[in-house]
């Protein structure tokens, strides 16, 4: 998807007042307590360890650190990570300048 098309799509979405997460390229994180993270609109799992989960999305990578992490409710666009979550950080690959 080139930047022009993206731009047009953004404008249509704004005009229709669509919520951002409707766009399937926008990941949405829902954190429940410190034990459960629901990630919608993800691309794939890059790394899965007991203490570290690395998830690829369309706009970057989500790193989840913790203990006894398990993957649950895996479907092609939702994923739940359960366990003792210590920290979540992001590695963005999309530039800030998006007009």
């Amino acid at each position: 998807m080139n930047s022009r098309k993206k731009h047009l799509k953004n404008r249509i979405n704004k005009a229709l007042q669509m919520p951002d997460e409707i766009d399937f390229e926008t990941p949405k994180l829902t954190i429940l307590k410190f034990e459960e993270v629901l990630i919608e609109n993800y691309k794939g799992i890059l790394e899965y360890q007991d203490f570290f989960v690395r998830i690829q999305t369309f706009i970057g990578i989500i790193n989840i650190n913790g203990f006894k992490l398990t993957l649950e409710e895996m479907t092609s666009d939702d994923l739940v990570v359960k366990g003792k979550i210590e920290s979540i950080d992001f590695e963005s690959i999309v530039g800030n300048g998006e007009d």
Partner: protein
Amino acid sequence: MHIKTVIYYILGYVNVVVEGFFIERFINTCISKRIFLWNTNRNKATIFSANTSISNYREVVKIAKKCQCKIKINKKRGLPFILNKYRKRKLFAITLVVIILAIFTISNFIWNIEISGINEEKQKEILSFINNEGVNVGIYKKKVNIQGLINKIRIAREDIAWIGMEMKGTNLVIKVVEADEKPQIIDKDEWCNIIAKKDGIIAKVEALNGTPIVSEGDTVKKGDILVQGWIEGEHTENRYVHAEGNVMAKVWYSEKEKVYYKQEYENQTGNKEKKYTLNINNFKINLFKTLSKFQNYDTISTIKKLKITSNFYLPVEIIVDEHLEKQKRQANYSKNEAKEIGINNLKNKLNEQIQDEGNISNIYINTSETEDYIEVEVIYEVLENIGTKEKL
């Protein structure tokens, strides 16, 4: 998600252990091929375990091979594996089916009729009435027309105010409310006499209406007229009336008893023995064939109906015969003791006969002694109203 795992339990699932360096690739391909993995666990850096359904297992194996991972089944869970385990035990399966079918068929019949709300005599009457209508223990449930049966009973019997029937499981519950018995009332307009209902000696006559034909001190017998229901006039013809009044009379109640000085009585030793008998539709099977080990004993039989739940009776009864051993003992009484015992026994008997103990005016006690026994007689003199009304 919870429901999904339950469904997978019914369909059967396997716990697989995947070992290799490209586990993330394995997970990603599984997700993209829409294979549901749950209960995932990363034990070590190269070992990954997860649950997957039986139908997906072949696919999972293929994916694992593509990702250069070793795959191994750790556990097999779910109904298909349990059934497979008992596959060779055909008799077990057959009996299970037979039992289920038997329970289904048995539950279509009535195996117990329960009547409540009335005394035993009337219960038996109603039971025999129902049996005559064709409703027996063991009848097919749908043959019973409850409303029709209720109507028939209500028409046939006047002493019942309300009757309700309900089928609970294999139990037919009949609840009855008895109607109060109406006393025989003679209408004020009708003519009547007052007659004696007991033998006695008249103590007092209070006639409110009618002609008293007995006076104080007269001896009357049962059925004698006490107050006539007509008034004889000298100049007019007999005028009939509704006689009314109280006739008090002395009535005697007496009881006799011989009390022996030497008495044999039986005493229970406390030893018990239980014998069981199975009863299937009056076909009895003794579970213990041996005779009782006691020489003298009382037997108490109780019938237990087998039931699964509180209302699901089975057509099988267990009869429990309890044998209680007893011993013969001898007791020696002195004359006074024997007399006391006799008087007490007789008083208890007499108290049951009379309605009100406050009306007792005199108690006479006669005794006659012989060598072996003492004969005691107790007489109550009771002041009672002995008049009842009888239509002319």
